[in-house]
């Protein structure tokens, strides 16, 4: 009962606050902008044809209607919430009759797949490598790994991804330049093989960055664990080193890493957006790039909203799993 009251309910409240702030910001930002999206859309629509004044007025009216710009700010805000709760994000500007929700629906699984897989790989890899490097700080391999990852860590995602792109699609054309798969979607080996083939470089660029971050943190945690009493006792008891590292040290460094995973999901997601832009991977990031190039505000707003809700929910889920892992929270 106390677990519910002291842990779960506050987390749920915080989740609701995040959603509220996120939706309000996506509502307010376009309305505070000096540029009127309607005028821009009108400009684009009328660029190649002339319309009669009545038709222009009618067009303006229907655009105002479509983009929820009717009435004063408060009713607009309430309508916006209503549409968000119904999952109706309006039509896309650039692919007009198609709704934003449909387009996001087709892109989101690519992003979730890429993001989920590379997060799991990077988290495990960073944890194990960091634990090993923290426990054996003086070995040549731990120093080599540390120096490499520490120098990669501060480099912006875009640049890491772009360098990989230059190296492996241009100078050594091993991997494809754009796309997510080849052939029609099916459960055949050739299709799944092409998924791996096309996804490899985007995933690699994400894994490199995320592993470096996890490694630095995990190494710091492991080197404090190393000087604690239980490790000393285990060493005196002559337990095999491998067992000390994997069964005791890494297991204890895992706990803070779970909390931190919830906090760093946003950063990993941003990395995924950029990676998709660089590699032309057909997920949300690619949709976003197209939307930027076509000034498709509805699409950008939809993706912003969805990413805030999605990341907040994902980190809520990670946090709710925490009591399953940490007995201290469970039995408080």
């Amino acid at each position: 009962m106390t677990l519910l009251k002291e842990y779960i309910v506050p987390r749920l409240i915080q989740w609701a606050i995040v959603i509220f702030i996120g939706v309000s910001l996506t509502f307010l930002i376009p309305r505070m902008s000096p540029i009127n999206p309607i005028d821009q859309a009108m400009g684009r629509l009328t660029a190649f044809q002339t319309l009669s004044p009545e038709a222009t007025l009618a067009l303006r009216q229907s655009l105002m209607d479509l983009y929820g710009l009717e009435g004063n700010l408060l009713t607009q805000y309430l309508n916006f919430w209503g549409r968000v709760l119904r999952g109706d994000l309006g039509p896309s500007f650039s692919a007009f009759p198609t709704t934003v929700a449909d387009m996001i629906g087709s892109g989101i699984w690519w992003t979730i797949g890429l993001l989920g897989l590379s997060t799991i790989i990077a988290w495990t890899l960073g944890l194990v490598l960091g634990g090993l490097a923290g426990y054996f700080p003086d070995r040549w391999w731990s120093k080599a790994v540390e120096n490499t990852l520490v120098s990669i860590y501060p480099i912006p995602y875009y640049i890491v991804a772009f360098i990989l792109l230059m190296l492996f699609t241009y100078y050594l054309p091993i991997f494809p330049l754009v796309g997510g798969s080849r052939g029609t979607a099916s459960f055949s080996w050739s299709y799944i093989g092409s998924l791996v083939y096309y996804g490899f470089l985007p995933a690699l660029s994400l894994v490199i960055g995320a592993t470096a971050f996890r490694f630095i943190m995990s190494k710091a945690l492991a080197s404090t664990e190393r000087s604690s009493d239980y490790v000393r006792f285990a060493e005196i008891a002559a337990l095999p080193k491998r067992r000390i590292v994997f069964r005791y040290v890494i297991r204890n460094t895992m706990l803070p890493q779970v909390t931190d995973l919830a906090l760093s999901l946003a950063a990993i997601f941003e990395g995924a957006l950029i990676t998709e832009v660089v590699f032309g991977y057909p997920g949300l990031g690619y949709l976003l790039l197209n939307a930027i190039n076509a000034s498709d505000y509805n699409m950008i707003m939809g993706i912003t909203l969805l990413s805030i809700v999605g990341i907040a929910t994902a980190s809520l889920l990670v946090d709710l799993c925490y009591p399953l892992i940490d007995p201290r929270v469970r039995y408080r």
């Binding site: 995602y157 875009y158 906090l263």
Partner: protein, 287 residues
């Protein structure tokens, strides 16, 4: 202060290499004031020439000298990042100190707000703002925007520092001798935060440079000004890779990597210096 820097320089290799790189970077940025060409001037040198003695980093297909472009780009990127850092850390310090010092209801409210902001992905929000301001974006606006979105994590750090400072004896002395809360926080607590601020400023630079590059590469920055991101954007726009003019892209990429690694190494050195555990180890080594 100066002796600290000298000691760091002498004994901490990360800080030494980091600050050497940064000196090179700042010299590069300073050279922009002596550039023979205006930043936006085109067709002033032979087009698409590879690096040579005359044009160190080659020229672009638009007839710009890559080396002098780079000096402007480094300067502008540093200006954007500096502005973002000042604004972000300013808000962060203020909220952290208020929340840590007042405690109670205010602390719960502000901490809830800060925790919520940490979870929100900032890049989509920034892209939304930048897309709305497209064409009207200036370097200053970009810096302000990045700063306004980067205060949550530092403020958490300052809050925990102030929380521990509040329990110290001198806080009670100050309060009992009738100092006002604002004065206690600013005069007594702020000086203790400065070393942390210093390390944090550096990580703020890293974040801001990364965002500047990302936004400009997406075509959302101030596309008429030279910055590391816009140099890459225009390089891609004019197909530098396919036309075998790699130097156009290599220069901004190498500069970006150099700057962030320099800042990062310097911050690693500073953090190691500030960490009380390593300081103890240093004292033992001396004695």
């Amino acid at each position: 202060m100066l002796t600290t820097i000298r000691d760091l320089f002498r004994y901490n290799s990360a800080f030494r290499y980091g600050s050497l790189i940064l000196v090179v970077v700042f010299i590069l940025a300073g050279l922009s004031f002596f550039s023979p060409y205006a930043p936006e001037a085109r067709r002033v040198v032979p087009r698409a020439a590879p690096p040579s003695l005359e044009h160190w980093f080659g020229t672009t297909s638009q007839g710009q000298d890559v080396f002098w472009m780079l000096t402007f780009a480094v300067r502008n990127t540093l200006i954007v990042a500096g502005l973002a850092v000042i604004i972000g850390r300013g808000i962060g310090v203020m909220i952290g100190m208020i929340s840590g010092y007042l405690g109670g209801r205010w602390d719960r409210f502000l901490s809830g707000l800060v925790d919520s902001f940490i979870v929100i992905p900032r890049l989509p929000l920034l892209i939304l703002i930048a897309a709305m301001l497209r064409g009207h974006m200036t370097l200053v606006a970009l810096g302000v925007m990045i700063g306004l979105l980067d205060w949550a994590i530092p403020s958490k750090r300052y809050r925990s520092q102030v929380l521990s400072l509040r329990e110290r004896e001198f806080t009670n002395t100050a309060v009992f001798s009738g100092m006002r809360s604002v004065k206690v926080v600013v005069r007594e607590h702020l000086p203790f935060l400065i070393p942390f601020l210093l390390a944090d400023v550096v990580s703020g630079f890293l974040f801001a440079i990364g965002l500047e590059v990302t936004l400009s590469v997406l075509g959302l920055g101030d596309m008429n000004a030279q910055s590391l991101g816009t140099m890459i954007y225009w390089g891609n726009y004019y197909q530098s890779l396919l036309a075998n003019r790699v130097w156009v892209l290599a220069a901004p990429i190498a500069a970006a990597v150099l700057i962030v690694v320099g800042f990062y190494l310097a911050s690693v050195g500073l953090t190691a210096y500030l960490d009380p555990r390593t300081r103890l180890a240093r004292l033992q080594a001396k004695g």
